[in-house]
């Protein structure tokens, strides 16, 4: 298939593009809306906001999630905040500046048109959430409070203590619950999407497994929206929830949707270090901590003195020294890579040597303990709970961890994939963040997609598509159901000697080693070989206890790990082909004399969208060239 990627970016000046385009898009007649059924998979910020908004418009909505309640989607765990260009602080912020920062922060690998629209609707998100009762932090005068976050030089981040994601999600969940109560949304919790069904070239439904009864079922609709989150758990250890997976987007990829920029993964600098083999996940500490905490390691390698006994002159504040203008607030990729560098060189702290200090003693002196309690109280408590150390007295120890995946299914300006009728929103798509996401921008994107973009663009599709009348007895559904039932049987019948987790952990270690913070051709080639071998071993040796007709958590995990084993290879293939450093993707072959990332805009200013060609066969690459009409390409510098 000689597919070309049509991003469908309207031709208009960027500031007017979205408004004009909204006018140009076709509208669904209000009385016809209830005749359309839309399947929304996922209830995170993107999915819940989309499902609620679509139901409010009058569509019939079927909504799915794997947790026991839509309120538990992983968006709930976001701590730090959400960006919006409200310019409440009068510090020079604007949609244009947020757009500019996001394109630059993404290291010039995002589509300008989408990013501008994101910045433009960001303010509406805050209005929407406040109207729903989201208790954002406020000032004494009763106005909304803002803080500066993750390297931004304006204060545009809105927050609700350290629980911003929770409060935003509960707002969307409540809007969704209202629609469920009204009978406009049919909610299917504990239900996992295992396949996409395409009829006449259009996405028309999904096949699911009921996680309680094990029943494999089909659902038909007029469009399918995937809002299934990121694939960071391919690394096993990550800050994602345990159930986060790639299954929905991966199986859609295998049905023909293109996967864009899979190698763009983000490593977050401020997580609690690993303690041992039993470790099941890594806990993120909001990077807002970097606003007041100072990062350092002892100047002397292997210094085992307790941090409070190391005098000021013997501390190496490596970020402040190397990047005087941004200091501790350099973007995530830079902060993470530098932490890895100092630890690899032997300066790391803690029992494993993989940790650096994040020290609040100066901030406590300057601002008083009470202010620190107000700003970060719950994070400090969490740290103490996990490590049994008191961060008010001893500096925290932190280390980078996988946190976010910028890559995802390719979508056009309408957030539709190359498969007509398959829309992808939130972290599951590739858009907006380029090669690196700025702090507090994922929540913004999820809600922008779900509340303010998709509800318009999906209508334009529904009006124009010719959608034949079908039901779930159609052969395409039966075929997919049979494949899923066969897959379940196959997994259960291997009866090998190794547990699912043992494969997942091994895969994670491989990726972290060869396709983590720093990558090179030789390592990536080796990783691809090793992943293939591991995948073969999985299908020979895995043991999945229990059976398929019941609640079976080992089986759920096995299915997800099977997909991760395939995705991991694509991540490495993408990383290998992109012989430049950009954002979260650092290729050792492409760096400046000072060891900073070096982009190659001549060769790589494009989105790499991969087409599935069979497991173990090389996927086909499609390129969407990126044009920068508004932001001038320049090498990022935070010195």
């Amino acid at each position: 298939m000689a597919a070309t990627l049509n991003s469908k970016v309207p031709s208009a000046p960027i500031e007017e593009m979205w408004d004009r385009h909204r006018f140009e898009m076709k509208l669904v007649n209000p009385s016809n809306k209830r005749k359309f059924t839309i399947i929304v998979v996922g209830t995170g910020l993107a999915g819940a906001s989309a499902a609620a908004s679509l139901a409010e418009l009058g569509y019939q909505v079927l909504n799915f999630c794997y947790q026991d309640s839509p309120r538990r989607a992983h968006s709930i765990a976001a701590q730090g905040g959400i960006n919006a260009a409200k310019n409440y602080r009068n510090d020079g912020d604007s949609a244009y500046r947020l757009f500019y920062d996001t394109v630059k922060g993404g290291d010039y690998r995002a589509r300008e048109a989408n990013v501008y629209r994101l910045a433009q609707v960001s303010g509406n998100i805050i209005d929407q959430c406040v109207a729903q009762g989201v208790p954002f932090a406020r000032e004494y005068g009763g106005l909304l409070d803002n803080r500066s976050f993750g390297g931004a030089q304006v204060s545009r981040t809105f927050y609700a203590r350290g629980q911003t994601g929770q409060q935003l999600l509960l707002g969307a969940y409540q809007a969704l619950s209202r629609q469920i109560g009204l009978g406009k949304v049919a909610m299917y919790p504990r239900t996992e999407m295992l396949d996409l069904v395409i009829i006449d070239g259009k996405a028309r439904g999904i096949v699911t497994r009921n996680l309680v009864s094990g029943k494999v079922e089909s659902f038909i609709g007029d469009a399918v929206v995937l809002a299934t989150g990121g694939y960071g758990n391919v690394f096993f250890l990550s800050t994602n929830a345990m159930g986060c997976n790639t299954t929905a987007i991966w199986r859609s990829y295998k049905r023909g949707a293109f996967f864009a920029n899979p190698c763009y993964t983000q490593i977050h600098p401020t997580c609690i270090p690993v303690t041992g083999d039993h470790q099941s996940k890594l806990t993120l500490m909001s990077e807002s901590l970097r606003n007041d905490g100072r990062i350092w390691v002892p100047r002397q390698k292997g210094d085992t003195r307790s941090p409070n006994q190391i005098p000021e002159a013997e501390r190496y504040y490596y970020l402040e020294e190397k990047y005087p203008s941004f200091g501790n607030l350099v973007p995530r990729d830079v902060a993470s890579r530098n932490a890895k560098m100092v630890c690899d060189e032997g300066y790391g702290v803690g029992t494993t040597g993989y940790g650096v200090y994040l020290d609040f003693s100066e901030a406590i002196q300057r601002l008083g303990k009470q202010t620190i309690v107000e700003r970060y109280g719950n994070l400090f408590d969490m740290y103490q709970q996990i490590t049994a150390e008191d961060p008010y007295r001893v500096p925290m120890r932190i280390y980078p961890a996988i946190h976010y995946t910028m890559g995802g299914l390719w979508v056009d300006y309408h957030l539709m994939s190359n498969v007509p009728g398959l829309f992808v929103v939130g972290e599951a798509n590739f858009s907006d963040h380029g090669a690196n996401r700025l702090g507090a921008s994922a929540l913004m994107q999820g809600l922008a997609d779900g509340y303010f973009v998709l509800p318009y663009t999906i209508g334009d599709y529904l009006v124009q598509a010719t959608l034949e009348k079908h039901d779930t007895t159609h052969p395409a559904f039966k075929e997919a159901e049979n494949e899923i039932s066969a897959l379940v049987k196959r997994l259960l019948n291997i009866r090998g000697e190794r547990t699912v987790d043992s494969f997942h952990k091994e895969l994670g270690r491989l990726l972290w080693e060869y396709c983590g913070m720093s990558r090179n051709a030789q390592g990536l080639q080796r990783a691809i070989q090793d992943i293939r071998t591991l995948r073969e071993a999985f299908w020979q040796e895995v043991r999945v206890p229990g059976d398929g007709g019941e609640l079976n958590q080992s089986l759920e995990r096995a299915g997800r790990v099977a997909d991760f084993l395939e995705l991991a290879e694509l991540i490495c293939v993408d990383a290998l082909h992109r012989n430049e450093s950009c954002g979260g993707h650092f290729r050792e072959e492409s760096q400046t004399a000072e060891g900073e990332a070096l982009r190659n805009d001549q060769a790589f200013a494009y989105v790499g969208a991969w087409e599935f060609r069979g497991v173990g066969s090389n996927p086909a690459l499609h390129k969407e060239p990126l044009e920068f009409k508004y932001v001038t390409l320049s090498q990022r510098s935070y010195k």
């Binding site: 947790q67 209005d127 929407q128 109207a131 009762g133 509960l170 039993h278 206890p545």
Partner: protein, 249 residues
């Protein structure tokens, strides 16, 4: 650490459950409680037995998915209130026997082993636990001022994670704390006023219909709450209910 675990095993909702005993020899004090169960499950799988089913997701104490009764206490301890996923093994002693059970409440039927059905909570929210604010039909965010202290109190109540520990802790299996937390959160904000009466009436009706018990002011719920939702919110809810002129039969 060496531990003996007594764990509730129940094949499915209709099956009869029983306690099974497992021994673990090498538990690290740095493990979380759920990581300890992971290790047990790896051992069971390797030995050809069925692992113990338990709910969990974020493992950061925020999604509210996890939760078991540990030695009679929901989420395991009163000292530092926390979720099961954030409880660490250093809080136990080597040699100890630990009893692990699912939430026990009529409105939360057991699905398998330690997993229960908490969908009744969702139904309570669906019947009024929201502010009607359809997408895009809304005023500018700073058009309505909210005093910081009220907003902070709203946030305290909004911190509820819906785990169900309050119900599990209550001898009457009452869901008053959960329901009241949402009513208090929304009732403290100006945006929540128009629907205040409808909200309390709707939510309390569904709460009662779902088989939760009544409140007898014992306060066990608040003591078990990992987010320290205050008992005052129940008083607030009752006040709203009286104002709504709603008499419960």
């Amino acid at each position: 650490m060496r531990l003996t675990l007594r764990i509730w095993r129940q094949k499915h909702a209709q099956a009869r459950g029983h306690f099974a005993t497992y021994r673990m020899d090498d538990v690290s004090p740095d493990m979380s409680f759920l990581e300890m169960l992971d290790v047990l499950n790896e051992q069971l799988t390797e030995a050809g037995e069925e692992p113990v089913a338990f709910d969990h997701d974020c493992r950061e104490g925020i999604c509210g998915m996890c939760g078991v009764v540990i030695n009679g206490i929901p989420h395991g301890q009163h000292k530092h209130r926390t979720t099961t996923c954030q409880l660490h093994m250093r809080n136990f002693r080597s040699g100890e026997t630990i009893t692990i059970e699912p939430w026990r409440a009529k409105a939360f039927p057991v699905i398998k082993d330690l997993i229960v059905d908490r969908s009744a909570f969702d139904r309570v929210i669906q019947n009024g636990g929201f502010i009607t604010a359809p997408t895009n039909t809304i005023p500018e965010a700073n058009a309505v001022l909210v005093a910081k202290d009220r907003s902070d109190l709203a946030m305290d109540a909004a911190a509820c994670i819906g785990c169900g520990a309050c119900v599990a802790a209550c001898p009457n299996a009452s869901a008053m704390l959960f329901t009241a937390a949402k009513i208090t959160h929304l009732g403290l904000l100006p945006q929540g006023q128009p629907e205040r009466t409808m909200r309390v009436v709707g939510m309390v009706r569904v709460m009662d219909q779902s088989g939760f018990g009544g409140c007898t002011n014992l306060g066990e719920c608040s003591l078990a709450c990992p987010k320290e939702i205050h008992l005052d919110s129940i008083a607030q809810m009752n006040l709203d209910l009286i104002k709504a002129g709603f008499r419960r039969g």
